[in-house]
């Protein structure tokens, strides 16, 4: 995996419109971001499209990166995640008019989510440990919010649980993650 310094340095050079740095950034970061997009969208064509869109945005906004925002790869990941959620949400608007409650029950029955193995497989051991400490359903609620951009309301429907329960799960899970991750 690329070191933090080199990706941060490449981003700084991209802010100065250094094309070579941009190519190196792509070589280092694109496989991870493409992997993330595949898991978010489960659609190769859409993932490829979003990867290109994401890197075009990175070229324009590399100067916005600040170390306070976290690891460079996580920052890049959050950019493509926002693009993916926007795109999926637009698709969801179309689907929503077609699906009644029983339709949503079918959507909900989707087996293991895209995120279930992410952190055990790759990268952030501290985060993986903290996620392990959450109960399965509250953890899934946080994942559905983060990876699929679902509202409390949609999470409640997807998990077939009361809205108030889902809100409390998300709230408590975030606080537990904060405590577990500590302030570094």
């Amino acid at each position: 995996m690329a070191s933090r310094d080199s990706l941060a340095d490449l981003l700084a050079r991209c802010a100065l419109h250094d094309r070579r740095a941009f190519e190196m950034l792509y070589q280092q970061a694109a496989p991870t971001l493409y992997g993330l997009l595949l898991k978010l969208t489960r659609d190769r064509e859409l993932a490829a499209d979003l990867l290109q869109e994401g890197f075009a945005r990175v070229w324009q906004r590399a100067g916005d990166y600040r170390p306070q925002l976290g690891q460079p790869l996580a920052w890049l990941g959050s950019i493509v995640r926002h693009l993916a959620i926007d795109r999926l949400r637009r698709g969801e608007q179309r689907q929503r008019t077609e699906l009644d409650d029983s339709g949503w029950a079918l959507v909900a029955d989707d087996g293991p989510g895209p995120e279930d193995r992410l952190h055990a497989e790759h990268g952030d051991a501290a985060l993986a440990r903290c996620l392990e400490m959450l109960d399965p359903e509250p953890r899934r609620a946080v994942f559905l919010a983060y990876y699929e951009g679902l509202t409390h309301d949609l999470i409640a429907r997807r998990l077939d649980r009361p809205l108030g329960t889902v809100k409390a799960w998300v709230r408590r899970s975030l606080q537990r993650l904060k405590t577990c991750l500590g302030e570094t």
Partner: protein, 223 residues
């Protein structure tokens, strides 16, 4: 909402970053951000935590994505044969202009301002050269900063193109480390070798507002 109550503030920031704060509550929260630095800090802290979720196992993207991205962002062809070499033709152009200058000095004075090799020199208060800018024939700007500069913290020098009465257009961040950079001209800029080059010094922010006054300014020259 009483935003000064700390646990509530922390919770709203967390749900804002996670994306579960929606509708009117999200808009009200965003309206509070510009005036409340500590609230922005709380949001930044949550971004740092929650963005850690944005990792995945790598998967090689199709090679076509990079080719398409290059074509989209850098329309100029990246590879050239020796016949198309900028250095070759620049060398020939300099030689022929110098020969012409010696042989045909009166005619040179009447040559059009768009003649070969536009360049500009940006000088400081003591007339020292701060930057040299040359316009390549692929429309890109080569900027050199002969001597590293001591910049105030968090400040960068930006290069702008000012033509006519329209607001200046940003060309990019100027090097301040004694190095050389290539800046891409924005698409559809027409004749970049006209007008004035402006330099401003300002904090790095996304989409900076066009300045009304430059810190330094200069005009294009030609050999």
């Amino acid at each position: 909402m009483n935003i000064h109550q700390s646990p509530l503030r922390d919770h709203l920031a967390a749900e804002y970053v996670l994306g579960t704060l929606r509708g009117g509550a999200r808009r009200r929260f965003e309206q509070l951000l510009p005036a409340h630095p500590s609230l922005r800090q709380t949001v930044t802290d949550w971004e740092r935590r929650i963005n850690r979720l944005a990792t995945a196992s790598p998967s090689a993207p199709p090679p076509a994505i990079w080719r398409e991205l290059e074509r989209r962002l850098f329309p100029a062809p990246p590879r050239r044969s020796w016949w198309d070499s900028l250095a070759l033709w620049r060398g020939l152009a300099i030689t022929s202009v110098l020969v012409a200058a010696i042989v045909l000095t009166p005619q040179l004075a009447t040559s059009p301002p768009e003649a070969n090799l536009p360049f500009a020199t940006i000088r400081g208060k003591q007339r020292e050269v701060l930057w040299m800018v040359t316009l390549a024939d692929d429309g890109r700007l080569h900027v050199s900063n002969p001597r590293a500069m001591a910049m105030p913290p968090e400040q960068r020098c930006l290069l702008w193109l000012k033509t006519g009465d329209t607001p200046p257009v940003m060309l990019g961040v100027l090097p301040d480390d004694g190095g050389v950079r290539t800046l891409a001209m924005p698409a559809g800029m027409g004749q970049p070798a006209r007008g004035e080059l402006w330099v401003t010094m300002q904090p790095m922010v996304p989409n900076p507002q066009p300045p009304t006054q430059p810190l330094y300014q200069t005009r294009w020259q030609t050999l």
